[in-house]
């Protein structure tokens, strides 16, 4: 998956989990919990949507690596 595709997939997934989050608010540095206010259930759903849409299952031990938009996009680009 290219970085562009990864970025698009991440935005789409966040749009589904937290439709109220303004796309403008999201930037590379956004932290999913603190800035976008996704709780653990939202996060699980995000991981689930990514698994469904991109066919990439992020194992739990990699959760810390995908705590920001940048981390998540990078992870998808590298593994997806």
């Amino acid at each position: 998956m290219t970085e562009l595709e990864a970025r698009k997939a991440v935005r789409a997934a966040i749009g589904k989990v937290a439709p109220d989050v303004d796309a403008e608010e999201i930037n590379d540095g956004s932290r999913l919990r603190q800035d976008l206010e996704l709780d653990s259930l939202d996060f699980l759903r995000l991981v689930e949507i990514i698994a469904h849409d991109c066919g990439l299952d992020i194992p739990e031990q990699d959760y810390p690596a995908v705590g920001t938009i940048k981390g998540l996009v990078g992870y998808l680009a590298a593994h997806g």
Binding site: D20, R33, E37, D39, S40, L41, P59, E60, Q61
Partner: protein
């Protein structure tokens, strides 16, 4: 004959607004069937029927706000209520002055149109003779609309209309009988009324687009987001003020070692697809529910000067809404669920709470509430009790902490568990036992 009343959906609710009817006159409802959607200050909820019968009349128009206890609909008794269980819904007395529906056999007249079983069922339900119906569906099949048409035609005099259409017609001074309806079964809809009244507005098809003369009455959608946040804020404020004014709170907190629980959870999750994975909250909630069963002084209601402990543990879960405010619906009998079941219910409940679609029972009867604010960052939370409950459990953020044990220092994941409890019912010793029990339970996660 019984009335379907505006239910109380929580200690703080004194009125509600009907935003949608899920049934119409003539429909057969069983106990537990969803009948209406009610909007309160806090959320929008599906409300179920407490009786069985045929809906005879809807008494409250969509958009109308009425006090708790107001009759919303009249439900006519059916034979089922008088003793013999009816395997099939029975037609209402009002709806069936006609002969029995034609039996769906070969003996049926050859000119009978094809019909899907659900449609036949509907016809039977409405007491409509299907033999005479000309189908408008594929290959001349009889559709639901055809059946409803036939019934409307038979009823003659009365024009079928929605409560909203009736309300609007009254408001605009339009005679319903003169309007030809375009709704299901030829029912007069709101837009038919509007058209008939010579309004310039294009007939809107969705409630959201409706710009009606009387805004409140015409808006079937829940209040706009801003308004919703404000009213939710007020409702939370009123309830919490009452809590702090009447309940003598005391507060306890303890740090719980989560190493065993999280190790167990991670090993379980590693073997599972994402959809079946657990989050720490599921374990914390299960422990809170089990401990509440073991220490009944924190589980139940205080009202009229006395505490009534509850045998069941209906665990309220405080859910922060994304637009602001919070609701605390219940997971019923949480102590009896497996961690997996609890996890599933939690996801479902939180999803629906945020979508504004909770059910009456979920809002009305938590026996103890848990707030899991730590999920979003704080180390500990001392909550305010939801009256008439007598305790509120808080969990902070799961974080790594230096942990001294047996003279050695290590690093472990831990969480601060807190209890706010009602001093009229329990004291610190009992409350402390509750938290200690949670701690014990979390040390043996496989037993949860």
């Amino acid at each position: 004959m019984g009335d379907f009343l505006m239910p109380s959906l929580g200690a703080d609710m004194d009125h509600g607004k009907v935003v949608e009817w899920l049934v119409k006159p003539g429909d057969y409802v069983r106990r537990g069937d969803l009948v209406a959607v009610v909007d309160t200050d806090k959320t929008t909820m599906d409300v179920e029927s407490f009786q069985e019968g045929v809906v005879a009349d809807l008494l409250v128009a969509i958009g109308q706000t009425v006090p708790v206890g107001t009759p919303l609909a009249r439900i006519a008794q059916t034979p089922a209520e008088t003793g013999h269980p009816a395997p099939e819904p029975t037609p209402s007395p009002e709806a069936s002055p006609t002969p029995e529906p034609a039996p769906p056999t070969k003996e049926a007249p050859t000119n009978e149109a094809p019909m899907a079983p659900p449609v036949r069922h509907l016809a039977h339900q409405l007491g409509v003779d299907t033999a005479g119906i000309r189908g408008s569906g594929k290959n001349g099949a009889v559709t639901r609309a055809d059946v409803e048409h036939a019934r409307a035609a038979r009823r003659g005099g009365r024009t079928r209309s929605s409560p909203r259409a009736r309300g609007l017609a009254a408001e605009l001074g339009v005679e319903l009988a003169g309007i030809s309806g375009t709704g299901p079964g030829g029912a007069v809809t709101e837009s038919d009324v509007r058209r008939s009244a010579g309004s310039r507005q294009p007939a809107p098809s969705t409630p959201a687009e409706v710009k009606a003369p009387r805004q409140e009455a015409a808006t079937a959608k829940p209040a706009a987001a801003g308004e919703r946040v404000a009213s939710l804020r007020r409702a939370v404020g009123t309830l919490m003020t009452r809590s702090k004014r009447t309940i003598p709170h005391y507060y306890l907190g303890t740090t719980v070692d989560l190493r065993a629980s999280l190790d167990w959870m991670q090993s379980v999750n590693a073997r599972r697809p994402v959809a079946d994975r657990l989050v720490p909250s599921a374990l914390l909630l299960k422990a809170a529910a089990l401990a509440a069963r073991d220490v009944p002084d924190v589980n139940g209601f205080y009202s009229a000067g006395a505490f009534r402990p509850s045998a069941a543990v209906h665990l309220g879960v405080a859910v922060a809404l994304r637009h602001g405010g919070l609701v605390a619906p219940a997971i019923h009998d949480a102590d009896t669920l497996t961690v997996d079941e609890l996890m599933k219910k939690l996801r479902d409940l939180v999803g629906r709470a945020r979508a504004g679609r909770l059910q009456r029972a979920e809002m009305a009867d938590p026996t103890i509430t848990v707030t899991n604010l730590g999920d979003l960052g704080v180390e500990s939370v001392y909550g305010v009790i939801y009256p008439p409950q007598v305790a509120l459990v808080g969990f902070g953020r799961v974080m790594e902490q230096p942990w001294a044990q047996d003279g050695l220092l290590g690093v472990r994941p831990a969480v601060v568990a807190t209890l706010s409890a009602d001093h009229r019912v329990s004291d610190g010793l009992r409350g402390g036992r509750y938290l200690a029990r949670i701690d014990e339970l979390l040390q043996q996660p496989e037993e949860l």
